[in-house]
Protein backbone atom coordinates (compact mmCIF):
# COMPACT_ATOMS: atom_id res chain seq x y z
CA UNK A 1 0.00 0.00 0.00
CA UNK A 2 1.01 3.59 -0.53
CA UNK A 3 1.70 6.30 2.10
CA UNK A 4 -1.94 7.26 1.89
CA UNK A 5 -3.02 3.95 3.28
CA UNK A 6 -1.29 4.26 6.63
CA UNK A 7 -4.30 5.56 8.52
CA UNK A 8 -4.82 8.90 10.25
CA UNK A 9 -1.62 8.79 12.28
CA UNK A 10 0.21 6.48 9.98
CA UNK A 11 -0.35 3.68 12.48
CA UNK A 12 -3.48 2.00 11.23
CA UNK A 13 -2.30 -1.37 10.00
CA UNK A 14 -5.79 -2.81 9.98
CA UNK A 15 -7.06 0.00 7.80
CA UNK A 16 -5.13 -1.37 4.90
CA UNK A 17 -8.05 -3.56 4.14
CA UNK A 18 -10.39 -0.56 3.61
CA UNK A 19 -10.64 1.70 0.62
CA UNK A 20 -8.61 4.92 1.04
CA UNK A 21 -11.64 7.11 0.26
CA UNK A 22 -13.72 5.47 2.97
CA UNK A 23 -11.04 6.11 5.57
CA UNK A 24 -10.77 9.73 4.57
CA UNK A 25 -14.50 10.17 5.07
CA UNK A 26 -14.33 8.84 8.63
CA UNK A 27 -11.34 11.02 9.41
CA UNK A 28 -13.19 14.16 8.30
CA UNK A 29 -16.27 13.21 10.24
CA UNK A 30 -14.21 12.64 13.36
CA UNK A 31 -12.49 16.03 13.11
CA UNK A 32 -15.80 17.75 12.46
CA UNK A 33 -17.39 16.09 15.46
CA UNK A 34 -14.49 17.14 17.65
CA UNK A 35 -14.78 20.71 16.42
CA UNK A 36 -18.51 20.82 17.02
CA UNK A 37 -18.10 19.52 20.54
CA UNK A 38 -15.47 22.16 21.27
CA UNK A 39 -17.66 24.94 19.91
CA UNK A 40 -20.65 23.70 21.85
CA UNK A 41 -18.63 23.47 25.07
CA UNK A 42 -17.17 26.93 24.57
CA UNK A 43 -20.62 28.35 23.99
CA UNK A 44 -21.89 26.68 27.09
CA UNK A 45 -19.08 28.19 29.17
CA UNK A 46 -19.38 31.64 27.66
CA UNK A 47 -23.11 31.78 27.98
CA UNK A 48 -22.81 30.59 31.52
CA UNK A 49 -25.36 27.86 31.28
CA UNK A 50 -26.05 27.47 34.98
CA UNK A 51 -25.25 24.13 36.46
CA UNK A 52 -27.72 25.01 39.18
CA UNK A 53 -30.11 27.89 39.62
CA UNK A 54 -28.58 28.66 43.01
CA UNK A 55 -27.14 32.18 42.80
CA UNK A 56 -24.21 31.08 44.96
CA UNK A 57 -23.45 27.82 43.20
CA UNK A 58 -21.67 26.23 41.44
CA UNK A 59 -18.70 28.14 42.83
CA UNK A 60 -17.75 31.41 44.42
CA UNK A 61 -18.17 33.24 41.15
CA UNK A 62 -21.73 32.02 40.92
CA UNK A 63 -23.34 31.74 37.53
CA UNK A 64 -21.42 34.61 35.97
CA UNK A 65 -19.84 33.83 32.58
CA UNK A 66 -16.08 33.39 32.57
CA UNK A 67 -15.42 36.45 30.45
CA UNK A 68 -17.35 38.74 32.76
CA UNK A 69 -16.33 40.05 36.14
CA UNK A 70 -19.25 39.38 38.47
CA UNK A 71 -20.07 41.83 41.21
CA UNK A 72 -18.41 40.64 44.38
CA UNK A 73 -20.78 40.03 47.29
CA UNK A 74 -20.60 42.50 50.15
CA UNK A 75 -18.12 41.65 52.82
CA UNK A 76 -19.75 39.98 55.78
CA UNK A 77 -19.87 41.85 59.07
CA UNK A 78 -18.44 40.44 62.25
CA UNK A 79 -21.13 39.81 64.82
CA UNK A 80 -20.57 41.94 67.89
CA UNK A 81 -23.42 41.10 70.23
CA UNK A 82 -21.50 39.89 73.29
CA UNK A 83 -24.00 37.09 73.76
CA UNK A 84 -22.49 33.65 74.14
CA UNK A 85 -23.31 31.18 71.40
CA UNK A 86 -24.05 27.54 71.91
CA UNK A 87 -21.65 24.81 70.94
CA UNK A 88 -22.51 22.21 68.35
CA UNK A 89 -20.51 19.49 70.09
CA UNK A 90 -18.83 19.12 73.44
CA UNK A 91 -15.26 19.72 72.36
CA UNK A 92 -16.06 22.65 70.11
CA UNK A 93 -13.94 25.70 70.91
CA UNK A 94 -16.40 28.45 71.82
CA UNK A 95 -16.77 31.11 69.17
CA UNK A 96 -15.96 34.71 69.96
CA UNK A 97 -19.16 36.76 70.32
CA UNK A 98 -17.49 40.15 69.85
CA UNK A 99 -15.27 41.96 67.37
CA UNK A 100 -11.55 41.40 67.83
CA UNK A 101 -10.40 43.44 64.91
CA UNK A 102 -7.54 45.28 66.52
CA UNK A 103 -6.69 42.85 69.27
CA UNK A 104 -3.01 42.07 69.10
CA UNK A 105 -1.80 38.58 69.75
CA UNK A 106 1.91 38.89 69.25
CA UNK A 107 5.06 38.05 71.10
CA UNK A 108 4.71 41.40 72.83
CA UNK A 109 1.16 41.17 74.01
CA UNK A 110 -1.90 38.95 74.07
CA UNK A 111 -4.92 41.21 74.16
CA UNK A 112 -7.44 38.46 74.85
CA UNK A 113 -5.79 37.56 78.12
CA UNK A 114 -6.34 41.03 79.52
CA UNK A 115 -9.93 39.96 80.13
CA UNK A 116 -10.02 36.18 79.83
CA UNK A 117 -7.08 35.27 82.06
CA UNK A 118 -7.74 33.73 85.45
CA UNK A 119 -6.37 36.81 87.22
CA UNK A 120 -8.58 39.10 85.15
CA UNK A 121 -11.93 37.43 84.68
CA UNK A 122 -13.37 38.56 88.00
CA UNK A 123 -12.76 42.16 87.11
CA UNK A 124 -13.76 41.86 83.50
CA UNK A 125 -16.61 39.34 83.98
CA UNK A 126 -15.45 37.70 80.79
CA UNK A 127 -15.42 33.89 80.79
CA UNK A 128 -12.10 32.55 81.98
CA UNK A 129 -10.18 30.42 79.52
CA UNK A 130 -10.61 26.82 80.54
CA UNK A 131 -8.22 25.19 82.95
CA UNK A 132 -6.82 23.03 80.18
CA UNK A 133 -5.32 26.16 78.71
CA UNK A 134 -3.08 26.44 81.75
CA UNK A 135 -1.69 22.94 81.29
CA UNK A 136 1.46 22.01 79.49
CA UNK A 137 1.42 18.85 77.45
CA UNK A 138 2.44 16.76 80.46
CA UNK A 139 -0.72 18.05 82.13
CA UNK A 140 1.15 20.16 84.67
CA UNK A 141 -0.68 23.33 85.61
CA UNK A 142 1.22 26.51 84.87
CA UNK A 143 0.80 29.92 86.48
CA UNK A 144 -0.07 31.43 83.14
CA UNK A 145 -1.60 30.35 79.89
CA UNK A 146 0.38 27.58 78.27
CA UNK A 147 2.49 28.59 75.28
CA UNK A 148 0.74 25.96 73.19
CA UNK A 149 -2.55 27.76 73.85
CA UNK A 150 -1.17 31.23 73.42
CA UNK A 151 -2.54 31.99 69.98
CA UNK A 152 -6.26 32.13 70.76
CA UNK A 153 -7.45 32.60 67.19
CA UNK A 154 -6.01 29.27 66.13
CA UNK A 155 -9.17 27.73 67.58
CA UNK A 156 -11.48 30.57 68.60
CA UNK A 157 -12.92 32.66 65.84
CA UNK A 158 -15.46 35.39 65.38
CA UNK A 159 -18.64 34.74 63.42
CA UNK A 160 -19.98 36.84 60.59
CA UNK A 161 -23.46 37.29 59.25
CA UNK A 162 -22.46 35.58 55.98
CA UNK A 163 -24.77 32.92 54.65
CA UNK A 164 -23.23 29.45 54.49
CA UNK A 165 -21.86 28.61 51.06
CA UNK A 166 -22.83 24.99 51.32
CA UNK A 167 -25.53 23.25 53.26
CA UNK A 168 -24.76 20.84 56.03
CA UNK A 169 -26.64 18.07 57.70
CA UNK A 170 -24.89 18.15 61.02
CA UNK A 171 -27.05 16.99 63.90
CA UNK A 172 -26.32 17.50 67.54
CA UNK A 173 -25.66 14.25 69.36
CA UNK A 174 -28.69 14.88 71.57
CA UNK A 175 -30.89 15.29 68.54
CA UNK A 176 -29.58 11.97 67.27
CA UNK A 177 -30.21 10.29 70.60
CA UNK A 178 -33.68 11.72 70.78
CA UNK A 179 -34.45 10.56 67.28
CA UNK A 180 -33.21 7.11 68.17
CA UNK A 181 -35.26 7.06 71.35
CA UNK A 182 -38.31 8.28 69.52
CA UNK A 183 -37.99 5.59 66.87
CA UNK A 184 -37.47 2.95 69.55
CA UNK A 185 -40.44 4.24 71.51
CA UNK A 186 -42.42 4.22 68.35
CA UNK A 187 -41.43 0.65 67.58
CA UNK A 188 -41.92 -0.38 71.21
CA UNK A 189 -45.32 1.28 71.30
CA UNK A 190 -46.37 -0.53 68.17
CA UNK A 191 -45.26 -3.84 69.65
CA UNK A 192 -47.04 -3.06 72.90
CA UNK A 193 -50.15 -2.05 71.10
CA UNK A 194 -49.91 -5.15 68.98
CA UNK A 195 -49.65 -7.29 72.12
CA UNK A 196 -52.50 -5.53 73.88
CA UNK A 197 -54.95 -5.66 71.05
CA UNK A 198 -57.03 -8.83 71.19
CA UNK A 199 -56.55 -11.21 68.33
Amino acid sequence: MSEQGRGVWGLGRGSERKHPKQRKYWRTAFVLALFATAVFAAEQVLEGDPVSSDPLGPGLRGTAPLHEEPQAPRMARVENFDIRRGRAYTSQPPTIPHAIEKYEITRNVNFCMYCHARVRHEQSQAPMVSATHYMDREHNYLAEISPRRYFCTQCHVVQTDAKPLVGNEFLDVHTLLEQERASQDDAGGKRRRARETPR
Partner: protein, 219 residues
Protein backbone atom coordinates in the same frame (compact mmCIF):
# COMPACT_ATOMS: atom_id res chain seq x y z
CA UNK B 1 37.18 95.84 77.59
CA UNK B 2 36.01 95.93 74.04
CA UNK B 3 32.84 93.87 74.47
CA UNK B 4 31.75 95.88 77.48
CA UNK B 5 32.21 99.14 75.55
CA UNK B 6 30.23 97.86 72.65
CA UNK B 7 27.42 96.70 74.94
CA UNK B 8 27.30 100.08 76.57
CA UNK B 9 27.13 101.76 73.19
CA UNK B 10 24.20 99.52 72.17
CA UNK B 11 22.39 100.27 75.36
CA UNK B 12 22.88 104.00 74.77
CA UNK B 13 21.38 103.70 71.31
CA UNK B 14 18.43 101.70 72.56
CA UNK B 15 17.64 103.78 75.60
CA UNK B 16 17.68 107.18 73.89
CA UNK B 17 14.97 108.66 71.69
CA UNK B 18 15.49 108.20 68.00
CA UNK B 19 17.33 111.01 66.27
CA UNK B 20 16.44 110.33 62.62
CA UNK B 21 13.38 108.08 62.59
CA UNK B 22 9.97 109.40 63.46
CA UNK B 23 7.86 107.97 66.24
CA UNK B 24 5.19 107.13 63.66
CA UNK B 25 7.62 105.15 61.56
CA UNK B 26 8.93 103.28 64.54
CA UNK B 27 5.48 102.50 65.89
CA UNK B 28 4.02 101.47 62.56
CA UNK B 29 7.20 99.67 61.55
CA UNK B 30 7.20 97.80 64.82
CA UNK B 31 3.58 96.92 64.34
CA UNK B 32 4.02 95.62 60.80
CA UNK B 33 7.28 93.91 61.70
CA UNK B 34 5.50 92.25 64.58
CA UNK B 35 2.74 91.00 62.35
CA UNK B 36 5.23 89.64 59.86
CA UNK B 37 7.28 87.94 62.54
CA UNK B 38 4.28 86.49 64.32
CA UNK B 39 2.63 85.38 61.12
CA UNK B 40 5.82 83.73 59.95
CA UNK B 41 6.31 82.03 63.29
CA UNK B 42 2.78 80.71 63.38
CA UNK B 43 2.93 79.56 59.78
CA UNK B 44 6.13 77.66 60.47
CA UNK B 45 4.59 76.22 63.62
CA UNK B 46 1.51 75.04 61.80
CA UNK B 47 3.59 73.64 58.97
CA UNK B 48 5.31 71.36 61.45
CA UNK B 49 1.90 70.43 62.84
CA UNK B 50 0.68 68.47 59.86
CA UNK B 51 0.72 64.85 58.95
CA UNK B 52 2.64 65.62 55.77
CA UNK B 53 5.43 67.03 57.89
CA UNK B 54 5.43 64.01 60.20
CA UNK B 55 5.58 61.44 57.44
CA UNK B 56 8.22 63.37 55.54
CA UNK B 57 10.64 61.44 57.75
CA UNK B 58 10.89 57.75 56.94
CA UNK B 59 11.01 56.91 60.66
CA UNK B 60 7.40 57.99 61.04
CA UNK B 61 6.22 57.03 57.57
CA UNK B 62 7.44 53.43 57.69
CA UNK B 63 6.71 52.62 61.30
CA UNK B 64 4.05 54.53 63.15
CA UNK B 65 2.15 55.92 60.18
CA UNK B 66 2.11 52.56 58.43
CA UNK B 67 0.53 51.07 61.55
CA UNK B 68 -1.99 53.87 61.90
CA UNK B 69 -3.29 53.20 58.40
CA UNK B 70 -4.77 49.89 59.48
CA UNK B 71 -6.72 51.38 62.36
CA UNK B 72 -10.10 53.03 62.75
CA UNK B 73 -8.48 56.40 63.37
CA UNK B 74 -7.27 56.41 59.80
CA UNK B 75 -10.02 54.68 57.87
CA UNK B 76 -13.62 54.18 58.93
CA UNK B 77 -17.18 54.24 57.67
CA UNK B 78 -17.79 57.98 58.04
CA UNK B 79 -14.39 59.19 56.90
CA UNK B 80 -13.65 61.31 59.94
CA UNK B 81 -10.06 60.75 60.83
CA UNK B 82 -7.31 61.77 63.17
CA UNK B 83 -3.96 62.97 61.89
CA UNK B 84 -0.73 62.65 63.87
CA UNK B 85 -0.92 66.03 65.64
CA UNK B 86 -4.56 65.49 66.61
CA UNK B 87 -3.39 62.94 69.14
CA UNK B 88 0.23 63.80 69.72
CA UNK B 89 0.27 67.61 69.94
CA UNK B 90 -1.88 69.55 72.42
CA UNK B 91 -4.32 71.90 70.72
CA UNK B 92 -4.07 74.64 73.30
CA UNK B 93 -1.35 77.16 72.48
CA UNK B 94 0.82 77.18 75.62
CA UNK B 95 0.90 73.43 75.82
CA UNK B 96 1.52 73.21 72.14
CA UNK B 97 4.59 75.44 72.43
CA UNK B 98 5.77 73.37 75.38
CA UNK B 99 5.42 70.20 73.32
CA UNK B 100 7.17 71.81 70.38
CA UNK B 101 10.08 72.72 72.61
CA UNK B 102 10.26 69.12 73.76
CA UNK B 103 10.24 68.09 70.14
CA UNK B 104 13.62 69.75 69.67
CA UNK B 105 15.02 66.61 71.22
CA UNK B 106 13.25 64.61 68.53
CA UNK B 107 14.99 66.75 65.91
CA UNK B 108 18.23 65.86 67.64
CA UNK B 109 17.28 62.21 67.47
CA UNK B 110 16.46 62.53 63.80
CA UNK B 111 19.79 64.16 63.00
CA UNK B 112 21.77 61.49 64.80
CA UNK B 113 19.57 58.64 63.55
CA UNK B 114 18.39 57.23 66.85
CA UNK B 115 15.57 55.25 65.22
CA UNK B 116 16.60 55.34 61.59
CA UNK B 117 16.19 51.58 61.11
CA UNK B 118 13.29 49.29 61.89
CA UNK B 119 15.40 47.44 64.44
CA UNK B 120 16.36 50.63 66.24
CA UNK B 121 12.74 51.74 66.24
CA UNK B 122 11.56 48.45 67.74
CA UNK B 123 14.29 48.64 70.34
CA UNK B 124 13.07 52.09 71.35
CA UNK B 125 9.36 51.50 70.96
CA UNK B 126 8.69 50.85 74.62
CA UNK B 127 10.51 54.01 75.66
CA UNK B 128 8.72 56.11 73.07
CA UNK B 129 5.35 54.62 73.97
CA UNK B 130 5.94 55.22 77.64
CA UNK B 131 6.50 58.90 76.96
CA UNK B 132 3.16 59.15 75.21
CA UNK B 133 1.32 57.12 77.85
CA UNK B 134 2.78 59.32 80.59
CA UNK B 135 1.77 62.44 78.74
CA UNK B 136 -1.80 61.24 78.20
CA UNK B 137 -2.11 60.03 81.77
CA UNK B 138 -0.92 63.42 83.00
CA UNK B 139 -3.40 65.42 80.94
CA UNK B 140 -6.34 62.99 81.47
CA UNK B 141 -6.22 61.84 77.86
CA UNK B 142 -6.93 65.34 76.66
CA UNK B 143 -6.20 64.54 73.02
CA UNK B 144 -8.72 61.69 73.09
CA UNK B 145 -11.28 63.89 74.75
CA UNK B 146 -10.87 66.59 72.14
CA UNK B 147 -13.16 64.37 70.09
CA UNK B 148 -14.51 61.70 72.41
CA UNK B 149 -16.58 63.29 75.15
CA UNK B 150 -17.78 61.00 77.90
CA UNK B 151 -20.92 63.01 78.49
CA UNK B 152 -22.11 62.46 74.94
CA UNK B 153 -21.55 58.73 74.75
CA UNK B 154 -24.77 56.95 73.87
CA UNK B 155 -24.83 53.78 75.94
CA UNK B 156 -27.44 52.28 73.70
CA UNK B 157 -25.03 52.45 70.80
CA UNK B 158 -22.19 50.79 72.65
CA UNK B 159 -21.90 47.08 73.19
CA UNK B 160 -22.67 45.87 76.68
CA UNK B 161 -19.06 45.26 77.58
CA UNK B 162 -18.10 48.82 76.67
CA UNK B 163 -21.05 50.29 78.57
CA UNK B 164 -20.13 48.41 81.71
CA UNK B 165 -16.53 49.51 81.63
CA UNK B 166 -17.05 53.08 80.43
CA UNK B 167 -19.90 53.90 82.79
CA UNK B 168 -17.89 52.73 85.80
CA UNK B 169 -14.33 53.59 84.90
CA UNK B 170 -14.90 57.01 83.39
CA UNK B 171 -17.70 58.25 85.64
CA UNK B 172 -15.55 58.39 88.75
CA UNK B 173 -12.65 60.10 87.00
CA UNK B 174 -10.63 57.27 88.42
CA UNK B 175 -9.38 56.09 85.10
CA UNK B 176 -8.58 57.79 81.87
CA UNK B 177 -8.84 56.62 78.26
CA UNK B 178 -5.23 55.60 77.86
CA UNK B 179 -5.41 53.26 80.85
CA UNK B 180 -7.29 50.79 78.68
CA UNK B 181 -6.78 52.00 75.14
CA UNK B 182 -3.05 51.67 74.78
CA UNK B 183 -2.07 50.67 71.29
CA UNK B 184 -5.29 52.07 69.84
CA UNK B 185 -3.53 53.49 66.81
CA UNK B 186 -0.17 51.74 66.75
CA UNK B 187 1.23 48.34 67.53
CA UNK B 188 2.19 47.70 71.12
CA UNK B 189 5.69 47.30 72.49
CA UNK B 190 6.67 44.52 74.84
CA UNK B 191 3.94 44.90 77.49
CA UNK B 192 5.67 43.11 80.31
CA UNK B 193 4.68 44.78 83.59
CA UNK B 194 2.69 47.55 81.91
CA UNK B 195 -0.70 48.26 83.51
CA UNK B 196 -3.45 47.78 81.00
CA UNK B 197 -7.26 47.69 81.01
CA UNK B 198 -9.07 48.99 84.08
CA UNK B 199 -5.83 50.79 84.84
CA UNK B 200 -4.96 48.16 87.40
CA UNK B 201 -1.39 47.02 87.37
CA UNK B 202 -1.16 43.30 86.92
CA UNK B 203 0.53 41.18 89.48
CA UNK B 204 2.22 39.51 86.63
CA UNK B 205 2.27 40.01 82.98
CA UNK B 206 -0.71 38.05 81.80
CA UNK B 207 0.03 35.18 79.54
CA UNK B 208 3.06 36.50 77.88
CA UNK B 209 5.72 35.59 80.40
CA UNK B 210 5.05 31.92 80.12
CA UNK B 211 5.09 32.18 76.39
CA UNK B 212 8.54 33.58 76.46
CA UNK B 213 9.84 31.34 79.20
CA UNK B 214 8.52 28.06 77.94
CA UNK B 215 8.61 28.54 74.25
CA UNK B 216 11.02 27.10 71.80
CA UNK B 217 13.14 30.20 72.06
CA UNK B 218 14.55 29.10 75.39
CA UNK B 219 15.76 25.78 74.09
Amino acid sequence: MKIKDRAREWWRTLSRPSRHLSLGFLTLGGFIGGILFWGGFNTALEATNTEEFCVSCHEMRDNTFAELRATIHYSNRSGVRATCPDCHVPHEWTHKIARKMQASKEVWGKIFGRIDTREKFLAHRLELAKHEWARLEANDSLECRNCHAYRFMDWTRQILRAVQVHSVALEGNEYTCIDCHKGIAHRLPDMEGIPMLFGAPLERDVGRNSFRRESFMSE
